[in-house]
């Protein structure tokens, strides 16, 4: 048996933890740079605000209905996500964090007298301990557990938890569940299903196995079996190191100055180094890119990129940041307004199992390594950006975050206040 715990409207729910008066009111959270709605409360959904709707298109709705608008606050969301994960770990030693707001629990081999009560208990414990509402579905397969958790959102009387296992119940649910919304059915498969007149998840399970294998290949077959209660999607509680690392942002205002652009790129590179070091990988190749605003008509457009390589592999702050700055200087062309830039580490290797080059200089390598460790240590204790390279400017990324809430749980200066009365 598997459980899927899915935080309801997660970013909005995080904002509500410290602003309980927002319960029952329409709330949205915007993407990086305040572009579009990426999380919506049920009240905001009811107003017709669509996922990904650009802010400028919904301004009128926002004003008319007093929608509370927030810029994304990933320090808060990351910390609240960690808290929910820790609650979940009380129920199973194997927790697979699937995304910032979703996790699978492997319940195989655990004695559970009443799975439905367990689902409800997990949900209420998450709520009690973290104030985040969580929908918990328990079912024989991961795919069915996901569908069960969606049921909890549709039916409040399930009290946040639901166990779906009896074949007649599964049939009833799948008959009403759109095939296109099943986990693992991508956009292309969804189009194929629609063309074949297959609407519900149940219709999909009625296809003969050979037809599924032929038209939807192995992944489709896996989903087909999972919907019938046969587990075939691996449980992955070990986080695989990323194959590439990308840090990129759109800027609030277009950048025309080469120094400003390279400062921004240096900050992205520093962000990439943090991720690289966290997973103990080495960078062998990195691309720096910057582009103009393609939505703005009548202005000259360009996309520039520059490739940097590290033949011996490196995870040192200085090497990567200075290579990124060199890349930014190389690609910059005067007369263009750059709207977005980024750094992508395109080729990664593992720290161990790496043979140093014959020409490596152990002494200077050791110096670089201890410099990097010192930077990690300082930024780890005093917060990101506590120590910077000069090329990073003031260390700030030129994003608009007009509506960002305080970092309530991660910065001493931002903790909420309480009065004594």
């Amino acid at each position: 048996m598997f459980a899927l715990a899915d935080c309801n409207n997660f970013f909005v729910s995080c904002e509500r933890v410290f602003r309980p008066e927002l319960n029952g009111r329409p709330v949205i959270v915007l993407s990086n740079n305040d572009g579009c709605a990426v999380s919506r409360s049920n009240e905001a959904k009811a107003l017709g605000i669509k996922m990904g709707a650009p802010l400028f298109q919904i301004r009128e709705l926002v004003e008319k209905h007093g929608v509370a608008v927030f810029s994304s606050n990933f320090a808060l969301y990351g910390d609240m996500s960690r808290r929910v994960q820790e609650v979940l770990r009380r129920y199973s030693p194997a927790v697979e964090q699937y995304s910032i707001d979703e996790a699978f629990l492997d319940l195989r081999g655990i004695q559970i007298p009443d799975p439905d009560a367990l689902a409800k208990e997990i949900s209420s414990e998450c709520r009690r301990r973290t104030a985040i509402p969580v929908s918990v579905g328990i079912a024989p397969t991961k795919t069915l557990a996901k569908i069960a958790s969606k049921l909890c959102k549709q039916y409040p009387k399930l009290r946040g938890g639901c166990y779906m296992h009896r074949p007649e119940d599964i049939e009833k649910v799948l008959k009403r569940f759109p095939a296109a919304d099943v986990w693992g059915i991508g956009r292309r498969s969804a189009r194929k299903l629609e063309a074949a007149g297959i609407r519900s998840a149940w219709d999909f399970t009625r296809l003969p196995e050979v037809a599924v294998r032929k038209r939807f290949a192995l992944p489709g077959l896996r989903t087909w079996k999972e919907l019938q209660g046969i587990p075939c999607i691996e449980f992955e509680d070990m986080v695989e190191p990323r194959q590439s690392i990308c840090v990129s942002r759109s800027f609030a205002k277009e950048i025309t100055d080469p120094t400003v652009l390279s400062e921004q790129v240096a900050n992205f590179a520093e962000g990439a180094v943090e991720k690289l070091r966290a997973q103990h990988s080495l960078a062998f190749e990195m691309a720096v890119f910057a582009l103009t605003n393609r939505f703005k008509e009548g202005v000259p457009q360009t996309i520039g990129s520059s490739l940097r390589s590290f033949p011996d592999g490196t995870a040192e702050h200085r090497a990567i940041v200075s290579a990124a700055v060199a890349g930014a200087r190389e690609l910059f062309r005067p007369g263009y307004g750059y709207k977005k830039a980024g750094v992508v580490i395109t080729r990664l290797g593992q720290e161990n199992g790496h043979t140093p080059s014959l020409f490596a200089n152990p002494e200077s390598e050791q110096r670089e390594a201890s410099l990097s460790q010192t930077i990690d240590h300082i930024n780890g204790s005093f917060g990101r950006g506590a120590i910077l390279f000069g090329v990073q400017g003031d260390g700030r990324i030129r994003m608009s975050r007009e509506h960002q809430s305080p970092h309530y749980t991660t910065l001493w200066s931002d903790i909420p206040t309480a009065s004594v009365k």
């Binding site: 309980p20 319960n23 301990r129 903790i415 206040t417």
Partner: protein, 139 residues
């Protein structure tokens, strides 16, 4: 010295470096104890939050302006506990009385008669946000 078998992947360093230094070995070498304030103050990492006390000092509550209070949502409210409550759009610290079958929020400042006891109804679960477990104050 006997030859030693080195397991693949084991740190070789410890074999080569070992404790070969001459002097008297420190008897405290193997002691790993240390005092960690977060282990004392944060019992549950998932449910513990920090708040700063704002406003005039109130003797009865042992809390002064600028103090940091540690609030644990996992602790069930008990009679006489202090809790952060959400009332009228702000967080305030109240004393919780759990007598006569129901909970009542009492003002922490007996000198201020403006604030009356608030009974907690079954639908008011949002009222008590979390129980105060520690108060950090500057001496």
């Amino acid at each position: 010295m006997e030859p030693q078998k080195i397991e693949a992947g084991a740190p070789i360093e410890s074999v080569i470096m070992g404790s070969v230094k001459a002097g008297f070995p420190s008897p405290a070498e193997d002691v790993r104890e240390k005092l960690d304030l977060s282990r004392l103050l944060v019992r549950h990492r998932d449910s513990t939050f920090f708040f700063r006390i704002d406003g005039v000092s109130m003797v009865d509550a042992d809390m002064d302006e600028g103090d940091i209070i540690i609030v644990d949502r996992a602790v069930a409210p008990y009679d006489g506990c202090k809790a952060v409550c959400y009332i009228d759009g702000e967080y305030t610290v109240k004393k919780v009385s759990l007598r006569e079958g129901g909970a009542t929020l009492l003002p922490c400042n007996v000198h201020n008669t403006r604030y009356k006891p608030i009974p907690v109804g079954p639908d008011d679960d949002f009222l008590i946000w979390g129980v105060v477990t520690y108060i950090i104050k500057k001496a």
